[in-house]
Point group: C2
Chain length 329, copies 2
């Protein structure tokens, strides 16, 4: 690697290629059940891909601390499996038809089987984590899962309603940043003597996760359907107000606010079009505001690890925030 | 207590009254969430009652080993909470309208919230168990939950189909006996130096659980709706063949088998009535066969603990199997 302080995508990929491949194998192995339909659903979800950003964070966190334990592979698979479990249940709740450009699992197997498959994935995650015989690991994972579930319920209660920025940040912390944070913390939890680094690394994960979800929410408003793999503006169609929308609501004219309220209440673009909403958001600089906020969190993530000892892993961690804020899907 | 070897209901109740009341309080305390709807659903389910037989087993198991740790109260609440979590998800899966004579939680709050409330109850159970800092406790609870979830999926795959006795026993072990077994094992797991008793107590729980579920399944066929708190013969209406039905299928005439197959496939009594099915079961002694099998497991439960040191708790454990097989709901 070169001596500049931020890595390139290729360097990061070279650094993690073997470990990420091992995690993929481990995830497949862990999700094989004696009950066929569980294996079918789990392998369908694995094949659907995903960015594997949570395992990547866990790997970089443990590497930055010099940890070479196989626990990083097993727990890398666990964080991806937990993430997958939440997706299975979320798709039931949101009555989603598609996920990552393919039919969602509930569309293929039905709600009943997917409730149970999600349950099984949760239990399998904990079972694998339990094998580490490390209470801190279990504590991080179990309280994380509870926070995510609570977040999803809070979001349901707020569907169709206007929320403020504080509520928005609480929701996206629970939905995304919490698991990013725990993925980073786990790197410290499996490294003997690294307790002191857990908070710093967790702070990086939290900031990065907030940046990630804000960008996700902007892309939901602006990206093309074929790039995103799901219908455009599905958040608004589900009654969810995200950062740019909240910004416009606070700054818009009476007519602007009324237009946004109508879409959130209707959960459709029948009376107010998607183009009209985009025009409102652009006129108030709301999309730029959201992207600027994401970039500020990305920078905060980089700052969080300023004191971490120099290493290839640290350079990779400094690269990730820029990757997250510049992606197009 | 008298010196005869089997206690009475009153003696058992006197023995456990304070602990059961403490568990009830603990269950209410554990299920209070900062997310209101979780607390609402959980408290609705607590108020719905239930036999509290799982906490009772945990208490008797720990008492029989001389354990006075407060862990018996906390984990007594945990096993009831885990049981409740499975009921919430099962009601979604079975599309149940009623539970214990009241609207089921999914009818009141909808599937989406109940998926998440069930998830939360699972996580809260593990969180409380984690506080014990006892890996064996976590191992028992997590692998139990996974077995129960797998059992529910296996059952779904078999709905509407004929199954044999072996498959039936595997299903009821996962559905009921496994949690009875773990409730007993937990008593040993929280008692220092009681490792050697875990298997014996677990065997008692397994036998008792099988007896319990066989009786449950007979009552589903024979008891009146107002006693049961749910529609009569709901198993057949859901396409589930239970022990008496399997017995009749193996011994019945061609017409008998056809009648049973019709109900299982139709999942209704439109073409073949409930009375016709009961007549078939009675003619082949199938209900008696199922009850005799339940009584044999109840006796096996009593035999499992023959070598346990004499105590009030042991006398209570000797009483429970008779209570389980002679109940009418």
């Amino acid at each position: 690697m070169s001596t500049i302080s931020i890595a390139t995508a290729k360097e990061v990929f070279d650094l993690l290629r073997d470990d990420l491949a091992a995690i993929e194998q481990e995830f497949t192995r862990q999700s094989a059940s004696q009950v066929e339909v569980i294996t079918d659903i789990a392998h369908y979800l694995i094949a659907g891909g995903g960015k594997r950003i949570r395992p990547l964070l866990l790997l970089l966190s443990s590497k930055a601390l010099g940890c070479t334990s196989e626990a990083r592979i097993r727990l890398g698979a666990v964080v991806e499996m937990l993430h997958t479990a939440t997706l299975v249940h979320d798709d039931i709740i949101d009555e989603a038809d598609t996920r990552r450009g393919r039919p969602s699992s509930n569309t293929t197997w039905g709600n009943a089987k997917c409730v149970l498959a999600g349950d099984w994935l949760y239990m399998q995650s904990f079972q694998t984590a339990l094998d580490e015989r490390n209470f801190r690991v279990l504590e991080l994972l179990i309280s994380l899962t509870q926070q995510m579930v609570e977040g999803e319920l809070l979001q349901m209660q707020k569907l169709g309603h206007l929320i403020n920025e504080e509520e928005y940040f609480d929701l996206i912390f629970r939905k995304t940043a919490c698991l990013f944070k725990v993925s980073m913390q786990l790197g410290a939890a499996i490294t003997p003597g690294a307790d002191a680094s857990e908070e710093t690394l967790g702070e990086y994960g939290r900031n990065l996760g907030l940046a990630f979800q804000i960008v996700d929410d902007v892309l939901d408003l602006t990206a093309a359907e074929d790039v995103l793999g799901k219908p455009v503006a599905s958040d608004l169609r589900e009654g969810k107000a995200t950062l740019a929308v909240i910004h416009a609501l606070e700054r818009g004219t009476g007519a602007d606010r009324e237009a946004i309220r109508t879409v959130l209440a209707d959960r459709s673009f029948e009376r107010v079009s998607h183009t009209q909403i985009l025009e409102i958001l652009q006129r108030h600089g709301s999309l730029d505001y959201a992207m600027d906020t994401a970039c500020a969190y990305a920078e905060a993530a980089r700052m969080s690890i300023a004191d971490l000892a120099e290493s290839d892993a640290k350079r990779a961690l400094l690269w990730v925030p820029g990757f997250v804020t510049s992606r197009d899907r």
